[in-house]
């Protein structure tokens, strides 16, 4: 992908320098995998390993989560964070999960992330190589060449991007993305890339309760309780999740009953309520492609409507909406009056 080919060079340079100057003793970034699209988060110790460091439209993994463990180790770590990853980072700082001193953030520009599942969803099999040509992807497969529009296979969260600004960083490397990005940025607000994040939530709200129930049953019944959504979630920072803790009284390992599917996902949504930055990792990693972000976005939408606009992770001070209040907050019966049809 030429859009980022330049950027990755700049990133490597800076990382190299910072390592050599001893400002950091390791770097967390992404490593190339077996195929053209699989990228694995990796920690690089030596500066000559950095040749393996890669950055492109498939490096969607939010590295902030790893910093919770990494910052417990000795020395400062260099973290490559995309704009939206920095929201998670701030939230983790706010909740004392990361010691800011132990992390050096290299804020990197974002080329918009691609969703391999969406590409596969287009029936594209045997992917060998993906070429990017402005807004088109040219995909070489075992079964011949395929094409698809870039915006058709963007990661869900990128469709309603929070913006290009890093809310936390020690240094920025935006590279040549900046120009075309800023343009996009303006376009963003109205164009497809700036689509209303609550579009789907609103659709669901507009359904009848039975339709909503049917919708969520069919989605949640796919859940295999692999806990990928939870373990990848930067807001899930509990030492031991109540669902794993036998002493919590509600531990449950499998969805032995449909009730447990609901229970797990409702409680998870409420536990991250006001803390979820809408980074979209839960939906990205779900092997069953359950649109889990629609649960979190519902909560975010409610919070914005009831208690005023709030973006978790926008800063490190503001007290979250569920651990603060206003004396004239709406009464719960507002749900009886609004919130979907009767």
């Amino acid at each position: 992908m030429q859009r980022v080919s330049v950027l990755i060079e700049l990133i490597r340079e800076r990382a190299q320098k910072l390592l050599e100057d001893g400002i950091v003793n390791r770097v967390i970034g992404w490593k190339k995998g077996e195929f053209f699209y699989d990228r694995t988060p990796a920690v690089f110790q030596a500066s000559d390993d950095l040749s393996e460091l890669i950055y492109d439209g498939f490096c969607s993994a939010n590295l902030s989560k790893y910093l919770i463990q990494e910052n417990k180790k000795d020395g400062k770590i260099l973290a490559l964070l995309k704009p939206c990853d920095t929201y998670s980072f701030n939230q983790l700082i706010k909740e004392h999960q990361i010691n800011r001193e132990n992390v050096y953030i290299l804020g990197i520009g974002c080329p918009d992330m691609l969703d391999i599942n969406k590409i596969r969803g287009k029936g594209i099999k045997g992917i060998q190589k993906i070429e990017e040509n402005d807004d088109e992807l040219i995909i070489d497969t075992l079964y011949g060449q395929r094409k698809c529009r870039r915006e058709d296979v963007l990661l869900e969260k990128c469709l309603s991007c929070k913006g290009r600004e890093h809310v936390a960083y020690d240094e920025l490397v935006i590279g040549d993305l900046r120009n075309d990005l800023t343009i996009e940025n303006e376009a963003m607000s109205d164009s497809a890339s700036g689509k209303n994040p609550y579009e789907m939530v609103e659709k669901i709200e507009a359904m009848t309760p039975d339709e909503r129930f049917a919708f969520w049953r069919s989605e949640l019944s796919k859940c295999i309780r692999c806990n990928a959504c939870r373990n990848v979630c930067p807001a899930c920072t509990c030492i031991k999740c109540i669902f794993d803790n036998d002493r919590s009284g509600i531990a449950s390992k499998a969805n032995t009953d449909t009730f447990e599917e609901n229970m797990f996902h409702i409680i998870r949504a409420l536990h991250v309520a006001g803390r979820c930055t809408d980074c979209g990792e839960c939906s990205r990693v779900c092997p069953q492609q359950i649109p889990l972000h629609l649960l979190n976005r519902k909560v975010i939408k409610d919070i914005n409507e009831f208690y005023g606009e709030y973006q978790a992770g926008a800063d490190t001070e503001t007290v979250g909406p569920l651990i603060s209040y206003k004396q004239d907050d709406v009464e719960p019966d507002i749900i009886m009056r609004k919130g979907g049809h009767k």
Binding site: G33, E34, F35, D38, R39, T40, P41, A42, V43, A61, K65, Y66, I116, R120, K125, G126, I127, Q128, T141, L142, Y143, S218, E219, S221, K222, I224, R225, C226, N227, A228, R230, N231, V232, K240, D244, K253, A254, N255, T256, E281, R284, V285, P287, Q288, Q289
Partner: protein, 347 residues
């Protein structure tokens, strides 16, 4: 004896099969393709290579009730209450998944036999389906699995909208006899068609990126301890988030947990899949013997690639279905592990 049936008559076939037994096959539901019970309006997707969850569910379900206790005053009554398994058919099982059943058999059918598993196996007729368009993530062939001749009670091929049907086992014959009337006999041309088809697919397979993985070399020529102590594990396990995705979608993972659920009226004891990636896996009074993700991560691959072969005449507990490769949230998978371990520390 080989039979064939045209696509337009498949619905007939399916309804005929499911007349006096349940028929499960790849069906699209909420955007995902899963093995689901067939019914008239089911959206059958025989073109799908891998379902997300493997068909191991049918014999070793994610959770199943074993026994229930009801206490009343001083006395306790016990009820066996796992659901009775009736004869059923699994249609469209790919070669890799079919091979996984054998791996599970070695565990559950070894003395003392797991009766729950056994009854289900006996009740099941497995209809395999040859692969047409292998994915880049496929590597079954390195485990000597033949995706175009997938072992099952009945083997089938789909070539330009015609389903070819060949029963192999007694069960297979029995089912076939039941529904023979729907089929036409396959002739010489058909045999050739199938032959060419196989050749074509084999050719693709030879081009697959993971073919060069020489797993035997890596694991048979290195001592267990050597592998166990490899310095590679640290780096390999680093990205692992300890979720259970790989274990739950894996056709050969078979660890489980036995748990009690207090229903308010008694205790429901059930068993459910467990994942060696979980921090509470095999937890004992003193905690998990594998306290770090590295150890837990290593355990999974040691089990699949070293311990299992050790106890099962060298057979790996992997069938190369490629599910973990495409589903792991951080793209860490058995192939990467194998390759990394293939490179000696000093190299």
């Amino acid at each position: 004896m080989m039979f064939k049936i045209n696509k337009d008559r498949w619905p007939e076939l399916f309804s005929e099969i499911s007349r006096d037994r349940e028929l499960y096959m790849p069906i699209e539901k909420a955007g995902q393709i899963q093995f689901e019970k067939w019914n008239v309006d089911a959206k059958v997707r025989l073109d799908q290579l891998n379902t997300v969850k493997s068909p191991k569910d049918f014999f070793f379900p994610q959770s199943e009730n074993i026994v229930a206790f009801k206490t009343k005053g001083k006395n306790i009554s016990i009820f066996e209450n796992h659901d009775e398994s009736r004869p059923f058919v699994v249609f469209g099982v790919r070669g890799c998944d079919a091979a996984s059943f054998k791996i599970l058999d070695r565990v559950f059918l070894a003395e003392p036999v797991d009766t729950f598993y056994k009854t289900r196996r006996e009740n099941a007729t497995v209809i395999t389906l040859s692969c047409n368009e292998p994915e880049e993530t496929c590597f079954c062939s390195i485990f000597e699995i033949d995706p175009v001749d997938p072992a099952g009670d009945i083997e089938t091929w789909v070539i330009d909208d015609v389903l070819y049907w060949k029963s192999i086992t007694e069960k297979g014959h029995a089912l076939t006899d039941d529904i023979k009337k729907l089929f036409e006999k396959a002739d010489q041309q058909d045999e050739e068609k199938i032959y060419n088809h196989k050749e074509k697919v084999k050719d693709i397979i030879s081009k697959l990126p993971l073919q060069n993985l020489n797993i035997n070399e890596i694991f048979k020529n290195n001592s267990m301890l050597e592998i166990f102590n490899s310095s590679k594990w640290k780096e390999l396990s680093q990205p692992c988030m300890g979720c259970g995705t790989c274990t739950f979608i894996c056709p050969t993972c078979h660890c489980y947990d036995i748990r009690d659920f207090d229903t308010g009226h008694g205790i429901q004891r059930f068993r459910c899949w467990d994942s060696c990636m979980y921090s509470d896996f095999t937890r004992m009074s003193h905690g998990n013997p594998r306290s770090s993700q590295l150890e837990r991560f290593r355990q999974r691959f040691m089990h699949k690639l070293v311990y299992y072969p050790e106890n099962n005449d060298g057979a790996f507990a992997c069938v190369g279905c490629g599910r973990c490769i495409s589903r792991c949230p951080v793209s860490m998978n058995i192939v990467k592990v194998a390759k990394a371990l293939g490179v000696k520390d000093d190299e």
